[in-house]
Every structure is written in C-alpha cells, then in structure tokens.
C-alpha cells in the first residue's frame, strides 16, 4: 500500500498552532507512507498539482489530506483524484483545522493531537475500497406546495424555464393571504389584482398543472425521483417529481390566545386584517378615539413568540394613516414597543403618519376592559414609568405572523426540520437560506420566517432558481454509502430487518439470509451495529475502519 499524506498550513491558520514540519517528518518514517509533504495551501492550484504529480509519479493508492473540515472543498479534492485516475473514495480528509488548530492554543498538545488524528485517518484508510457513485436521471418536474405569492412566483419561474410544474393549493382559490388584502403597501394596489395577474401568467404556461383544494398525503423517494401522493377532490393522484418548493405561508396570530386582550368578546376590538376588510362598514362616531396595539403575538416570550413579525408595524401605521385620512378630527394613539418599519420607504411612512397626527406612546398594555361607554386600556408608559388608563371607541390589534397550521404535518411528510418557532429551518441561515437539509427540497416565503409580500415573491423566485439549477443538470450522483450483506456469515436471525426503518432489508425464505434493497437503503448503519454475526456492513463505515480509527487515537495498534 502506498499512501500519500499532504498536510496543509492553511496560511497561518494551522501552522501557528501545529508544528506541520514535525508532522510531515514524523509520517515519513511510518510504514506504507510513500509521500509525506506539507504545503502552504493544499487547496490552491499548485497544491492540487502537487497531489496529482505524487499520485502519478509514486503510484499512490491512498491519499490523506490533513487540512480543513471534510465538508469544505470535498468535491474539489475528489476531482483531483478523479483526474489522476484514482477512485475518489480512496481519499481521506482529516480535519486538523476545525478540530485541532482552531480549538486549542498549546502548540505541543495540538501537534500531538494532529498526529493522532492523521494516524487514525491512516489506519482507517487502509480498509478503503474503490466505490462507484451511481448516476441517476433527474425528472425535470417540480412540485410547488402553496399557491400564495411566493409559490406562484416560484411556479412561474420554473415553468418559464421549461420545467413541468405541479402547483398544489389546499384552498379552493390561489392567492393565499395576499388575496384578501385591500391595499398592498407600498404598491397601493389591491392584493386580488396582484395574485390574479400572477395566476393568469402561470395559467398561460402549457407545462403547468394546478391542483386546488388538494393536500399532500405522502412524499417519499430521493432527489430526482420523488414520489408524491396528492388527495384531490377527484381522488388520489400520484406524481413523480424531481424536487419541491415548499411555500405554505403563515397563519395570522390568533389574539384569543391572550385573554387579557378580550378579543372576540367585544365588537370594538378588532385585528388589522379585519380593519382593512371592513373599514367602510365600521360604525365610528364623528370624532373617533382609536387605539392601535403593536406587537400582538410578536416579541412576546410569555406565549413563546420571541421573534419580530416584520410586517405588523407597517400594518399598524397604515391603520393610523387611513384613519387620519378619513377622520381628520379623530384621536389615534399607537401603543408600541419599538417601531420597526422594515421595508423600503418604511421610515418615511412612519414620519408621514406622525405628521398626520397619530400619537405614539411607548407602552406595555396590561389589559383591555370593555365598558358600555368605550373600551378602556390599562397599561404602563415605559418612557415615563407611569401607569395610564384611557378610553377608546375602537381598539385595533396589529397581529403578527405565526407558523403555518400545517407546519408539523408538512415537515413530517417532507422530512425537514422546524426551528424553535415552528417555521421551516434553512440548511444554513446565511449561506444556504433557501435550502433544507434534504436535497432538492427548498423553502420559500413566510413559511421560513415572517416576510412581507415583496420579500416573499423574491424568496420564491430565489428558491425556484436554486431548484432549477439542480434539475436542469439532468442527472445526479448517489453516494455509495449503503449496506451490503455477506451471505456466508448471515445466520438469518432477521434482527437487522426489524431494526431497519426504511424497509431496505428483505429476507429470503429459501436461502434463509437477508439482502439489501440498494435503492431504499438510506445509509445510517444501524443494521451494521445490530448484526450479531457481523454479516452486514455499511460501505464507507465498515467495522474495521472505525475500529482502527479508535486505535489511531489510543495508539495501541
């Protein structure tokens, strides 16, 4: 066996706490190590060439790169091996940056730790075998769940790029929450017009199928060939799709959860949504006294909603603005924590509202008491530290966004994670804000956190672009880390069959042994740990590899 060890300095990142020269000298003396080098940046062009040269000249059959964490530059180093006609699965990455150089300051101890880590990699890689990644065709079709603005914008983009789109909406009409808005700020258009324009654009496309009043009952398979089962009014329908965009939106906060607000018990206490839809039919006196409560269902630890809903400050400002336009003599008071007018033009709108005469009081509202003459608000002015009690004719609650009602159901169906507030979780909040941990499933719009209309449309389109990038390639690689059975050792006890939760292990009654259905195996390795006769092994993580990795750490080999 000819192993090449390449130790990266990573500029100063590794070098300043690990003695890389000492390491490369040490490994030169180890049997089976043909090449042991250290280099300033192994990931750079000259660094890659160094590996290629070593493979070609020395005929290496194992390559160990001790550098950053395996998830960084993984595909790049695999390509280096491929170009040198070496199977990419004979590469071992050892993380001596994230797991060694950056977590300790003592040079001597770090060098010892790095030595052990590389040694573990060396011992473990001795058991590596060439593996083949399977190439699987990708269906050029996408499932879009949710027919709100973000779902519509995702579906429009995907269909225009030539993907077959299945749009699923559980309500009878497309449009979601935007459809019921009378005036979408700052466009000044009604929401119905916006969604109908988008839906019209989508319906013109030939490669789109829209399912309304439809829910998803099952979703399984792997990227490129997911199987979705829909429950349509006409009956069950099965689809094969390459990927999915989830845009199931949000549900408005129900103020009934906070009994002190008396919502639903008195007609004079309404939400911003109700105000917007019924502003003409409200019976208000000549000089109405109106209170607007900000942050209802947002930034509230007690009810488990510590986040800011982003849209409700502007909604509250719009209520005040509209009231002042209609009733010049009205008395409008906003009770706020902080005014966060996020979107473009929001600050100017806030100033405009103040100029029109809406009063802003920084306050915590304790309770609302309906009386025959008016609705009394009791609270504490947090700037002056005084309690107050004032009477109003109307109270408008600026409600926030809560996670969608179906979030748990959809998350379970698609096997994706929820964050602490029950919104869908991104794969990485900054680097991969549209992806989920599952390949080919993207999230769009306010189901990943509160967003306004503009942001939702952009988010939907961005997710669609990401999905299009994956689907358009036409093929995908499947990692070969799946289990295999040695039929000679298998005693047919069927313990692995009971343990396997993807039903990938099947028992052969005739031969009295089990075999693995490769397409169904997810590669967790539970069967490997369960088998009492070591007959079943997980490729890439077989028992001797991990055994010897432990030995590398404990130095007993």
């Amino acid at each position: 066996m000819k192993t090449g060890i390449f130790i990266c300095h990573c500029g100063h990142n590794i070098k300043h706490t690990v003695d890389v020269k000492k390491l490369s000298e040490y490994f030169k003396k180890i049997p089976n190590v043909t090449v042991s080098k250290d280099y300033v940046f192994v990931c750079s062009e000259p660094g890659q060439d160094m590996i290629k040269d070593a493979i070609e000249k020395e005929g290496l059959d194992r390559v160990i790169i001790a550098s950053c964490t395996p998830s960084l530059h993984g595909p790049m180093f695999k390509d280096v091996l491929r170009k040198s006609n070496l199977n990419p699965f004979l590469l071992r990455r050892v993380s001596i940056r994230e797991h060694c150089a950056w977590v300790g300051n003592d040079v001597e101890a770090n060098t010892e730790k790095a030595k052990r880590l590389i040694l573990a990699g060396l011992y473990s890689s001795a058991h590596y075998v060439p593996l083949e990644e399977k190439i699987v065709d990708v269906q050029k079709s996408a499932l879009v769940v949710g027919g709100g603005v973000s779902g519509l914008s995702a579906a429009i983009f995907l269909s225009k790029m030539g993907m077959h789109v299945y749009l699923v909406e559980k309500e009878a009409e497309l449009g979601g929450h935007v459809r019921i808005l009378k005036d979408v700020w700052p466009a000044g258009r009604d929401g119905k017009g916006i969604v109908e324009e988008m839906a019209g654009e989508l319906e013109k496309q030939e490669n789109v199928e829209i399912f309304t009043s439809t829910t998803i009952t099952n979703f399984e398979g792997f990227f490129g060939n997911y199987e979705a089962t829909l429950k349509t009014p006409e009956g069950e329908k099965r689809l094969t799709v390459g990927g999915a965009v989830l845009a199931i939106g949000f549900s408005p906060f129900d103020p009934g959860i906070k009994p002190e607000l008396q919502y639903g018990k008195d007609k004079r206490i309404i939400t911003t949504l109700e105000f917007e839809n019924n502003s003409d039919t409200l019976r208000l006196p000549e000089k109405p006294r109106v209170a607007i409560l900000h942050c209802v269902g947002s930034r509230d630890e007690q009810i488990g909603k510590p986040y800011c809903s982003r849209v409700c400050c502007v909604n509250a400002l719009r209520v005040g603005n509209a009231l002042k336009d209609k009733h010049k003599e009205s008395y409008v008071e906003s009770f706020y924590m902080d005014v966060r007018a996020h979107p473009k033009g929001g600050e100017e709108f806030f100033e405009d509202t103040q100029e029109k005469g809406v009063l802003f009081t920084r306050a915590n509202v304790g309770e609302i008491i309906p009386t025959p003459s008016g609705v009394v608000i009791r609270g504490e002015d947090t700037l002056f530290g005084e309690t107050f009690e004032r009477e109003f004719d109307l109270v408008v609650l600026s409600i926030g966004m809560s996670s969608p009602k179906d979030c748990k159901l959809i998350a379970n169906t698609f096997k994706i994670a929820l964050d602490k507030d029950n919104f869908f979780m991104e794969a990485h909040i900054k680097l991969r804000p549209f992806d989920t941990a599952v390949k080919g499933i993207f999230i769009a719009g306010s189901c990943s956190g509160p967003k306004d209309v503009e942001e939702s449309i952009n988010h939907g389109r961005a997710s669609a672009v990401k999905l299009f990038g994956l689907l358009n390639l036409g093929y995908t690689y499947v990692e070969p880390f799946i289990s295999y059975v040695d039929p000679k050792r298998c005693s047919g006890c069927r313990m692995c069959e009971h343990a396997c939760f993807s039903n990938a292990i099947k028992y052969d009654e005739e031969k009295r042994v089990v075999h693995v259905e490769e397409a169904a195996c997810m590669g967790c390795g539970l069967c490997n740990a369960t088998c009492p006769s070591s007959a079943i092994s997980l490729r890439g993580y077989i028992d001797p590899m991990i055994d010897d990795e432990i030995s590398g750490f404990t130095e007993a080999i």
Binding site: R97, C100, N110, I546, I550, A556
Partner: protein, 139 residues
C-alpha cells in the same frame, strides 16, 4: 493501560453523528471556541451506527471516557436512528455499572447549530473525568 493514562490528561473519544454533532463541532472550530486537546471525535453517519463494541474497544485500549452524540430525539435525519441509540446506550450503561464505569460513558444530543452546547458538554465531561482521575491518583 488505565494506570498509564491517569497520570496524563484524560483522553476522550467521541462518536458524532455527521448530520448534527459533527457539524456542530465544525462550527465550534470555525468560531474559534476552545475545548481540551484530549477530546477527539470520530464521524459516523448516524449515532445508531455506533456499535457498543466500539465503545468497549476504546475503553479497553485506554480512553478515559467515551461519548456518543447525535441529533435531538425526533430530529434524526434517518427518522428514528437516535431512539435506537438511546436504548442501546442505556443498556450498555447498565453493563458498565457492574464494573463501576458508568460515568465513563455519556450520551448527549447536540444539533448542527449548537456549537456552544457542544463545547459545554464536552468540556464538562472532560473536567468530570479529570477530577475522577485525580481523586483516584490521590487514593
């Protein structure tokens, strides 16, 4: 072997699930959080891949402590692998109890974003083992 290692700093071997805890340990590294050099982690696809034999092997070969860590219950990438781990480790702990080594094995859950929790968990385990080793040496 145990007498030798007790004189030095403890050696801890950790088995980390590649979807959660290993990601958290990467993140802890990138955030330059510090933890003792004695802690070394092995990446496994799922915490359920950890065969009790690995844990026993690590202890026999001189590791002072072993931890197994995966995704929080209910968050497993493989749907319910960590439930199996939980039961397996509970059974193994029972066995270790007979040899008074119950506290040398720990199981905890760290998700991919919880770098701080990873640091807290491994550091407290390390300090605990170190304290125990010091006590034994005095005795």
């Amino acid at each position: 072997m145990a007498e030798e290692t007790s004189k030095k700093n403890p050696e801890i071997v950790g088995f980390c699930c590649s979807y959660c805890t290993f990601k958290a340990s990467e993140m802890a590294g990138s955030l330059r959080m510090k933890y003792p050099e004695g802690v070394k982690v092995i990446e496994v696809p799922c915490s359920s891949r950890v065969d009790p034999a690995f844990i026993i092997k690590a202890i026999v070969e001189g590791a002072d402590g072993v931890f197994v860590s995966g995704c929080h219950p209910g968050d497993c990438h493989f749907i319910k692998g960590n439930f199996y781990t939980r039961r397996k480790i509970a059974a193994l702990k029972e066995m270790f109890d007979a040899f008074s080594m119950k506290d040398r094995l720990r199981l905890f859950w760290v998700s991919a974003s919880e770098a701080r929790r990873f640091i807290d968990k491994v550091t407290s385990f390390y300090n605990y083992i170190k304290e125990k080793n010091d006590e034994r040496e005095k005795a």
